[in-house]
Amino acid sequence: MGEAIVITSGKGGVGKTTSSANLGTALALQGKKVCLVDTDIGLRNLDVILGLENRIIYDLVDVIEGRCRIQQALVKDKRFEDRLFLLPAAQTTDKNAVTPEQMKDLITELKRDYDYILIDCPAGIEQGYKNAVAGADRAIVVTTPEISAVRDADRIIGLLEQEDIEPPKLIINRIRRNLINSGDTLDVNDITSHLSIDLLGIVLDDENVISSSNRGEPVVMDPNNPAALGYRNIARRILGESVPLMSVDTGKPGFFSKLKLLFTK
């Protein structure tokens, strides 16, 4: 029986889809069987980042409305043999086409065949969010080091805490070295203590994230990329390994050593 993890944020554009694609790929690289589920109905783009756009035939709404079986809708990423699949979102229908109960049944079915189901959640706290969270066993909240993103993360964490799932964990994405050095951004410590949840990891801001997404090749496949390292470390922590937090070379020694990193499965 696999585990379903929803990747959510509240604020849009902070890197939910990028994180889903990269963590899914990283887990597949580690030999796990992974299914990515895009629940951003009407605004799908997980398929593009994975380079699978052209191979979509059926989508999530087709499955839920019984027009096809799950297996027919799943798109296989050939780079990973039988380890990475995508269930694409519908591009045309509106997001009220799906109910939380239907999502729950769908995810439960997928959990039989996969080690990890990563659910890419749409921005906001409406129907799309409720659907995405419905089948999840745990949640990852993505934020960037900006006050507005952190505020929305706080709101989402409050909502997630009402759900019957494990306490959510945090990813801080798009950390910029130069801003940290100049003190022009919220530091990792401020954010985690403000939100008071466990930090799952940090990901540096890197332009290759954008260019590799455009090529349909998640950046995590490049072992030398700094953002990729962040995603690989997070994947290892999801698998239960204890990996120390990477340093952001801030010139302030001991800065990150203060951080508690607790991720126990």
Partner: protein
């Protein structure tokens, strides 16, 4: 019947007390009060307290009495006191003396309300809201909104381990914590907010609370 004194005047060091008979008809009382208020012998006496004994004094009646007593111009009613209250008022007072405890973070968009005092063990984050008819005590950082005395209790206070609220409200007074505000401290650790006698919200060190609001302490006995 009309010979009987229904309003007795008593002088004390704190001013005059008008003791109202609690057996006679209310209309007789008002009439007599009117006469007494005009009594030239009372000239110069400013503050009066009114005791209604075992007669229930509704808000409406209180208004009428104050109006009649003050109509002569030289008297001011500082307080109306009755020995009886309604069940409802009594229940409300009991509830206001009770304390509820919330353990956890009050996050953005969440609201925690209490009918009496409220104890929060955890932070109140920006856009989080705590509200109580009594006082609010926060073992954590208050970074959102807090409203103490939300049913009108002006004695209620807001105390926090770290007080950097965006909005503070006590009874019907509100203060937004903008940077221009002089009462804000650099290091807002262990502070409390209360309604100053001048009617605006003030912030002080937590250790001053026992002097500012001695009535809040329910602890009896020495130590």
């Amino acid at each position: 019947m009309s010979k009987q004194q229904v309003v007795t005047i008593k002088g004390t060091k704190d001013g005059l007390i008008l003791r109202l008979d609690d057996q006679c008809a209310y209309s007789d009382l008002l009439e007599e009060l009117g006469k007494k208020a005009q009594d030239p012998g009372l000239e110069g006496a400013v503050e009066v307290q009114i005791h209604t004994g075992s007669r229930y004094c509704s808000d409406q009646a209180a208004k009428e009495i104050i109006q009649i007593v003050q109509s002569a111009g030289h008297l001011r009613v500082s307080k109306i006191q009755s020995d009886v209250i309604t069940m409802e008022e009594c229940n409300q007072r009991v509830q206001e003396r009770q304390s509820e405890t919330y353990i956890g973070i009050v996050r953005s968009g969440q609201e925690v309300r209490a009918k009496g005092d409220l104890v929060v063990i955890g932070d109140v984050n920006p856009n989080g809201h705590v509200s109580a008819a009594g006082s609010i005590y926060i073992l954590g950082r208050l970074k959102g909104k807090a409203h103490a005395g939300n049913a009108g209790n002006r004695e209620a206070v807001i105390a926090a381990s770290w007080l950097e609220a965006t909005h503070l409200m006590i009874a019907d007074q509100m203060e937004t914590m903008t940077d221009e505000l002089a009462i804000l401290s650099e290091h807002p650790e262990m502070e409390c907010a209360y309604l100053h006698t001048n009617g605006v919200i003030a912030i002080d060190r937590l250790q001053d609370l026992r002097l500012l609001r001695p009535g809040l302490s329910t602890f009896k006995g020495g130590c």
